[in-house]
Amino acid sequence: MESRGWSRRRLGDRLGLVVYGGGVVGVTLVHDPVWLTAAGVGVWLGAGKERGRLLRRALRLALPWLVVVSVGYGMVAFWSGLPVGEVLLRLNLRVGVLVLLTVVFATRVSLLRAVDFSPTLVWLFTMVMSQMVLWQRLYEEFRLALVSRSPGEPDLRTVLQASANAIAWFADQALATARNQAQALRARGLLE
């Protein structure tokens, strides 16, 4: 028999999932930078006591992508005479708000509990999340191995070399896994 606390948490998680889904759709439909800013501030304020840490995490995730895309678009717009200011402002705000919303959602909501009304969704998300945890652990192993073999902060060349190697390794593993899975499916009479 389920405890009342568990039911309440599940209800909270489902509500969180609905709010997140609504938030994503809303932020995608809104184009006015003022409203996008207001949405960002709203999400940040609603993030609770950990809002500072969550904001830093969201910025760490979003900034590299935003910088690359903004610089790229800025250059193309400069040569083609396209509008720059408002487009970039809107893009940065929208992506920033979406990433912050996702970070807050991932921290505060148990996705598996939220979707436990559907065994298929639970199975699907469990698969996705187990893969994410696996890759995350492997990535951490690569990082720690580099730290342990370096006398200090590794230089950029070494970091790039190690990153390239890790990416090649991940790609190789993904290919090997896909090949194994295909063979397993074929062995069971599929893909013929």
Partner: protein, 258 residues
């Protein structure tokens, strides 16, 4: 040399170590035993200064070690990383240079050794990779990669060598070679394994982590291997039906040990 006091480690709600107290003297050969998930790899990473204890204290040569301190105190980090080498369980994560030669020479070059190339050739010879110096590490077999990763550590002449499942992927001749190598090393060596048959070969002292992530035994290896109750508590024995001649029965046993 090493002093752990009440070290616990918990990450994202998962406990890996609970209240571990451990002292290791210079030159000791210690074998770290425990079932999968007992916390062996985490303990080795704590000793390598890569993972911070959630509580408790780790001292190396009297100095408190935390990843934070190693980030701040560059001169100390340089000395510590040069003296302490960790062979990762998945040795492939340690290899990222274009050739075997560059891989072995990476450490000595980073530490500015004048004889980096000479050292690389010397250790390639010792681990049997002298003929493969121009090959990329990813083209080597699993056992060769394991030996290469080991050479990358030994080339720096570490004082403390931490080996996480060092015989993983090694065939019997290569395992024998590794056991000999470890026995001859002047360094302090802590090797983790769950192969009981190798425990007595890898060290004279056993440190055993239980399924509850606590240290449940610290003493002579032989004594531990003679105590079935302790091995069962550590989860290193199991029970299933098997045949002794004509008799089919079940009792606690370990396959690679008897």
């Amino acid at each position: 040399m090493i002093e752990l006091t009440g070290v616990s480690h918990c990450f994202r709600g998962q406990t890996a170590l609970v209240g571990v107290d451990l002292r290791v003297r210079e030159g000791e050969k210690v074998v770290l035993l425990g079932v999968n998930g007992a916390g062996k790899s985490t303990l080795l990473k704590v000793l390598a200064g890569l993972v911070a204890p959630s509580s408790g204290e780790y001292r190396y040569e009297g100095e408190v070690i935390t990843p934070e301190r190693l980030r701040r105190d560059r001169a100390f980090a340089r000395r510590f990383r040069g003296e302490v080498g960790l062979l990762f369980q998945n040795a492939e994560v340690m290899l990222f240079n274009p050739t075997v030669f560059d891989e072995i020479a990476f450490g000595p070059r980073q530490w500015g050794f004048a004889d980096a190339e000479e050292r690389a050739y010397q250790w390639a010879e010792r681990v049997g990779l002298r003929e493969m110096m121009d090959r990329p590490p990813f083209s080597l077999s699993g056992g060769e990669r394991q030996r290469l990763a080991l050479a990358c550590l030994l080339v720096l002449g570490p004082r403390l060598l931490l080996l996480d499942e060092p015989t993983r992927g090694l065939d019997p001749p290569a395992t024998g070679w590794l056991v000999e190598l470890i026995a001859d090393l002047p360094a302090t060596v802590i090797s983790s394994t769950h192969r009981l048959s190798l425990a007595a070969e890898l060290g004279e002292r056993a440190v055993v982590l239980g399924r509850d992530h606590r240290l449940i035994y610290d003493g002579p290896v032989e004594e531990f291997l003679e105590n079935r109750d302790q091995m069962a508590t550590a989860g290193l024995l199991h029970c299933h039906r098997h045949r002794h001649g004509e008799v089919l029965h079940r009792h606690l046993h370990g396959h690679d040990w008897e």
